[in-house]
Amino acid sequence: MYNKKVMDHFMNPRNVGEIENADGVGEAGNPHGDQMKIFLKIRDNRIEDVKFKTFGCAAAIASSSMATELIKGKTLEEAWELTNEEVAEALEGLPPGKLECSVVSREATHRAINEYRKKQGLEPLAEQA
C-alpha cells in the first residue's frame, strides 16, 4: 500500500518533538481526525529549526516528517508556498485517497507562520483559494 520512502518516514519520522519558546506554533486537523502541531524556530526570516507532533495514519505522519524536512532552512515565503502535492511527490507518491491526510502539514505550517507574523506585528498572509 505505502512505498518504501513513505514507510521510512513513517517508521523513522524526522524532526519529531517540540521546541520550547518556539517563534511560531501552528496546529491543524482534517475530517479523518488527523492532527498536526508544528513548532518553528525562525531567524532572519528563515526557518532555522522545526519540530512536529502528529496524530494520524502513516500517510499523515510520513508527510509531516517530509514537510518539515522540506521547509527546514527555507525562508518563510518559500515555506508558505510548499504544497501537499510537492510533499507527496517528495515521498514518491501516496496511495489514492491519502493525499487528504497530508493536508494537515500545509495548514499547520501556515498557521505557525502567521502566528509568528502576528507576533512581529505583520499582516497575516492570506490563504490562496
Partner: protein, 395 residues
C-alpha cells in the same frame, strides 16, 4: 524488521486453511473435475462429495441436510437471508428489526431494502454491545417480517442472547435470522433443540479453517424465503449455479474438525487470550471494548488513547504482527468503526482501536512477543502524538 517470524492475530478476518482440509479438496481440483449435475461417473463423484459435505454441515449444526444451502460465503448468505425473507414476506409487512452492530453484509442489504419501501428498526445495544431481548419484543409491530441479530460481533466479540431473542421471535411468529459467521467452532450449535427458534443462519468456511469463497445458509424447513440465484436446479433451485465442489467438500471437512472438540479448544484459546488481555491492559490509557465475559474466546479489542489505529497496525506489521483496527483511515472513510460508535466509544478513542483475534495459528510464544512489542509501539506513537501530554505520563 519485516523478516521476524509472523504472529497471526487476525483470525476473525480469516483463518489459514487446515492442511487436512486442503488434502480433502485436492482430488476435486485435479482428478474429479466432473460437474455434479452430470450423470456419468466423474459427475456423480462430485455430487457425492457435495452431499457428503451437506451431511457434515447438518451434523455439526444439528440440522437436516435438506436445510443446508451452499453459497459463496458469509456475505451472500446474509444478503440472501435478509433480502430473500423480506421480499418473500412483503405482502405481510415491510418492517425489519436488526441492530446497528451487524456486519455490513446485513446492514447494507437493510439500507437497500429501505430504498425499496421497507422500514428498518436498528435497536440500540448497551456499552458492551449487548442487545436486550425485551427491546426486541417492544420493537415488534404488526408488519414486522424479519428479525436479524448476529450471534457474535466480529469486531468486539460480544456474544448476543440469541436463545432469548429467538424465543421472542418465535412467540410472535416472526422469522429469525442470525449471522453466525464468527461462532462456528466456538459456540456449540444445535438447531433442532437448543437453537430451535433460529430459522435462518449464515456461516462462512474461511472463518473456521476452511477455504475462502464458500459458505452456507441454514434455512429451517417451512421458512418463507425467495430463491436467491435463478438458473439451474442446484440447491433445489433456490441457489442456482454449478457447485464449488472442492470448496464445499473442504468446508465440510473443516466444520467437522472445528466442532469436534469445542470446549477443549475454547479453553486453550481463553487461556492465551486472558493472559494477553491482562498484559495489554497494563498499558496506561487503554480500555477493552466489548463484554468482559460474554465474548468470543479468541477476541480482544482495545482502544489506546492519543494514537491512531492505522499507524499502530502498520508499525505492528513491521514487527511481524498481523491484526486489525476500526480506525477511519484504515477503511478510507471519515468515520471510525460503526460498532465502536454504537457502543458509545468516543470517535477519538475509536480511532485508536486494535483488534487481536487468536486462533489455531497462535501459541504462548506469540503472546509473549506481542506483550513485548505492543507497549513499545504504543509508546513510540504516543511520543509523536500532539494529544499525549507529558502530564499524562506515568499515570
Amino acid at each position: 524488521m519485516g523478516d521476524t517470524h509472523l504472529v497471526y492475530m487476525d483470525h476473525a478476518a480469516t483463518t489459514f486453511t487446515n492442511p487436512e482440509v486442503v488434502e480433502t479438496m485436492l482430488p476435486f481440483l485435479k482428478k474429479h473435475f466432473g460437474n455434479p449435475s452430470s450423470l456419468y461417473s466423474i459427475g456423480r463423484e462430485g455430487r457425492e462429495a457435495v452431499e457428503t459435505a451437506r451431511e457434515k454441515l447438518a451434523k455439526a449444526l444439528g440440522a437436516k441436510p435438506e436445510e443446508i444451502y451452499f453459497t459463496s460465503g458469509g456475505t451472500e448468505s446474509d444478503n440472501w437471508a435478509v433480502k430473500g425473507t423480506a421480499f418473500a414476506r412483503q405482502k405481510k409487512g415491510k418492517h425489519i428489526i436488526t441492530t446497528p452492530i451487524e456486519h455490513h453484509a446485513v446492514l447494507y442489504p437493510c439500507e437497500y431494502l429501505e430504498t425499496q419501501g421497507f422500514d428498518v428498526t436498528y435497536l440500540p445495544v448497551d456499552r458492551y454491545g449487548l442487545l436486550d431481548p425485551a427491546e426486541v419484543e417492544a420493537a415488534i409491530r404488526k408488519d414486522t417480517v424479519l428479525i436479524s441479530v448476529m450471534y457474535a460481533n466480529n469486531e468486539i466479540g460480544t456474544i448476543e442472547p440469541i436463545l432469548e431473542i429467538g424465543k421472542v421471535a418465535r412467540e410472535h411468529k416472526i422469522p429469525f435470522h442470525t449471522d453466525a459467521v464468527q461462532v462456528i467452532g466456538k459456540v456449540p450449535l444445535d438447531l433442532q433443540r437448543e437453537h430451535k427458534d433460529v430459522d435462518i443462519l449464515s456461516l462462512s468456511s474461511h472463518k473456521f479453517y476452511g477455504p475462502k469463497g464458500v459458505g452456507a445458509l441454514y434455512i429451517r424447513e417451512g421458512t418463507e424465503i425467495d430463491n436467491y440465484m435463478h438458473g439451474g436446479a442446484q440447491e433445489g433451485g433456490k441457489r442456482a449455479g454449478t457447485e464449488n465442489v472442492a470448496g464445499i467438500l473442504g468446508m465440510g471437512k473443516a466444520i467437522e474438525l472445528a466442532t469436534a472438540n469445542i470446549e477443549e479448544h475454547n479453553k486453550k484459546l481463553r487461556k492465551m487470550r486472558d493472559r494477553l488481555m491482562a498484559g495489554v491492559l497494563e498499558i496506561p490509557h487503554c480500555r477493552l471494548n466489548g463484554h468482559p465475559e460474554k465474548r468470543l474466546p479468541g477476541n480482544l479489542n482495545f482502544s489506546f488513547e492519543y494514537i491512531e489505529g492505522e499507524s499502530l497496525l502498520l508499525m505492528l506489521d513491521q514487527m511481524g504482527i498481523c491484526c486489525s483496527t476500526g480506525s477511519a483511515c484504515s477503511s478510507g472513510s471519515s468515520d471510525p468503526s460503526h460498532v465502536l460508535r454504537a457502543i458509545g466509544v468516543p470517535p477519538k478513542t475509536a480511532q485508536g482501536s486494535l483488534r487481536l483475534t487468536l486462533g489455531d495459528a497462535n501459541s504462548g510464544k506469540d503472546i509473549d512477543y506481542v506483550l513485548e512489542v505492543l507497549p513499545e509501539v504504543v509508546g513510540k506513537l504516543r511520543a509523536i502524538s500532539p494529544f499525549y501530554k507529558p502530564a499524562d505520563k506515568g499515570k
